[in-house]
């Protein structure tokens, strides 16, 4: 009985707090994405650098984010696992992690004009934090070469 109560409390609080945090995170992601829209991030590495300008520096830009899923979504995902089909519970988890990582890559690099050859990789981390063997937290890591032109 105590177990069931604890479970329900975890699911309900996970849903309420988790949804609130997720909405807030998305608002922040969207705002920063619009702010940074003038800076191109591309997966190309040729034909995107303006060869007519001189280059001041080119450095490796990196950004990472570890995002964990809330208890409600974890429960939902295990239900979806039984019936199969689209596991919608995880979609925002990986989406948030990747977009956050890309934003951090831009923000943490020195000011630049373009980020070329951007790569994003995702990995499930730490089984000990999520005791059941399912995915509980993912890390997204984004990196690319940030190029800054000489202004003249």
């Amino acid at each position: 009985m105590e177990q069931l109560i604890l479970f329900v409390v975890l699911v309900v609080s996970g849903y309420m707090v988790g949804t609130f945090l997720e909405k807030r995170h998305y608002r922040s992601i969207e705002k920063r994405e619009t702010d940074l829209i003038r800076l191109p991030v591309v997966t190309l590495e040729e034909d995107v650098i303006d060869e007519t300008k001189k280059i001041r520096y080119a450095v490796l830009a990196k950004g990472n984010a570890v995002i964990s899923i809330d208890y409600f979504k974890r429960f939902l995902s295990s239900l979806q696992n039984i019936f199969g089909g689209n596991v919608t519970a995880y979609q925002t988890l990986v989406d948030r992690a990747r977009r956050e990582a890309v934003l951090r890559m831009i923000e943490q690099a020195p000011p630049s004009d373009i980020i070329t050859n951007a790569r994003i990789e995702t990995s499930a981390i730490g089984q000990s934090a999520n005791r059941r063997k399912s995915v509980g937290s993912v890390e997204a890591f984004a990196y690319g070469t940030a190029v800054k032109y000489k202004d003249d």
């Binding site: 988790g18 280059i55 995002i67 899923i69 809330d70 890591f141």
Partner: protein, 104 residues
């Protein structure tokens, strides 16, 4: 030391290359972080401790790679790639590799 993940260092000319260099590190999360993480696992959201930990681990791996490149006489590592894998319970391996070159 220039590090890029494109096939050149933009604005520089490659004069010599020395082959593959790499760096790797395996990091385990310490217990304090794990406890915080399991609380955070209830409500979801970012695990700041883990983000920082993996960030540090990447810095260390990159340092190892550049040290290796320096010992070869290179001044840049180009076309760098990162990969991450969970090697054991609560530990992640960061592997970084690229081509050591000398640019002018």
């Amino acid at each position: 030391m220039f590090i890029t993940n494109v096939q050149s260092v933009p604005g520089k000319t490659i004069v010599d290359h020395f082959g593959l260099v790499s760096g790797s590190t395996v990091r385990a999360k310490h217990i304090g972080r794990d406890i915080m993480a399991s609380f955070k696992n209830i409500v979801g959201g970012e695990l700041k401790g883990y983000s920082e930990l993996l960030d540090e681990a990447r810095k260390q791996a990159t340092e190892r790679m550049t040290d290796q490149a320096k010992s070869l006489g290179a001044n840049a590592v180009i076309n760098v790639r990162y990969s991450t894998s969970s090697v054991a319970q609560g530990a992640s391996e960061i592997y970084v590799y690229g081509t050591a070159v000398r640019v002018e």
